[in-house]
């Protein structure tokens, strides 16, 4: 392995920072879900990098990553369903216009 572990972890950290930026700064709910996907990708990349470099005989990390992907898919489906309902009722997907409860 020529590429050290830290290089992969730095890529994961950069992806995480970009995902946090997308989640915070975007106003469209679809873009926020995309940011969450980037965050999950960063987490999976970190898990797999640690698995490969620290304990490659135990495949539990890959199973954790599979579960993360599964939960991400379910979350995406339900999130898009909620968003579709909100769009049908409010006519927008911009999250800062969902201000019915604002005093």
């Amino acid at each position: 392995m020529a590429v050290p572990l830290t290089a992969y972890l730095i890529v994961g950290a950069l992806l995480f920072g970009i995902g946090v930026y997308a989640v915070i700064a975007q106003r469209s709910a679809v873009m926020i879900l995309m940011g969450i996907e980037v965050l999950l990708n960063a987490i999976g990349l970190n898990l797999i990098a640690f698995w490969r470099f620290v304990n490659p005989e135990d495949y539990s990390a890959q199973i954790f990553t599979i579960l993360i992907v599964t939960i991400g898919a379910v979350e995406m489906g339900i999130g898009l369903g909620i968003m579709m309902l909100l769009y049908r009722n409010r006519g927008t997907v911009q999250v800062d216009q969902y201000d019915s409860l604002k005093g």
């Binding site: 797999i48 579960l67 939960i71 049908r88």
Partner: protein, 311 residues
Amino acid sequence: MSFAEVAEWFAFAILAVISVAGALGMATTMSMFRSGIFLMASFIGVAGLFVLLSADLLGLLQVMMYIGGMLVMILFMVLFSHDPGGSMMAEMDMSLIERFFSLGLSSPPDEGMEHGDGMDMGGSGGHEGMEHEGMEHGDGMDMGGSGGHEGMDMGGMDMSMTTPVKRWAAALSLVLGGGLVALLLLRPAWPTTDATPSPESARMIGELLMSKYMMAFESAGLLILIGIFGAVLVARPGAYPDRDARDAYVTADLPPAPIEEGRPPSADAPVPPEALEEVTVNEAHRDKAGGPPSLNGPAGHAASQSAEGDN
């Protein structure tokens, strides 16, 4: 360095740049559809990194699940929602044939102004903050966004292809990412091992899923089932088939509009345009529907309410 090491570094550099640049493009491009395509590039980069880390099954799973499944869902939602091209599409100077081929993506300028999504995103036009931010400026300039936006006040709207940077969010994420990278660089090395995973790792994962992690595996199946039920239940056609029906329902709930002085309260009297701009969407809808408000009155109200109780 042997050839294999150089090749590995080369592959790592390409895949890392693809994944990070794709994520950056996702976060900064204004068009949501382009954001989805950038996100696909990022997913492909991460899948390649998985393969490089000899987790080939996960690389395959990444491509199949994220790109084949989630990204299709995202792009469907982008096309379903209003204004998928970002607010730049509304005031692009398109000919009639272009407008035909971008049907559903763009709206005529007056309609775009009425909805007002993303129109007020001026103000923070600063473009510093993200380090690679300028690299998406080159793409998509063939769309020629010359603002042929006659008669409208553009305000502080910038016509660039990127979303304006939110300063606090950019600062927070820069601090977070920089802090993580600094921690990674400052930390002494992890106890890495030189062992290599078995070439038939897919079989090992399958056996683990069926023995040690069987509970998690079956629970994930149950979770997916419940998720499908929940998504269908949430997104099914509810009490209001579309927004107009809901507006009619809300209009029926509103108190009647005050009758202005000196004008007979007839429904089919012509409304001057400056008054039409002042009324809200609901009242505009009622004006469009015409007829006395009692037509939307108790009968329609009761029907909508019973339908809502069914929801």
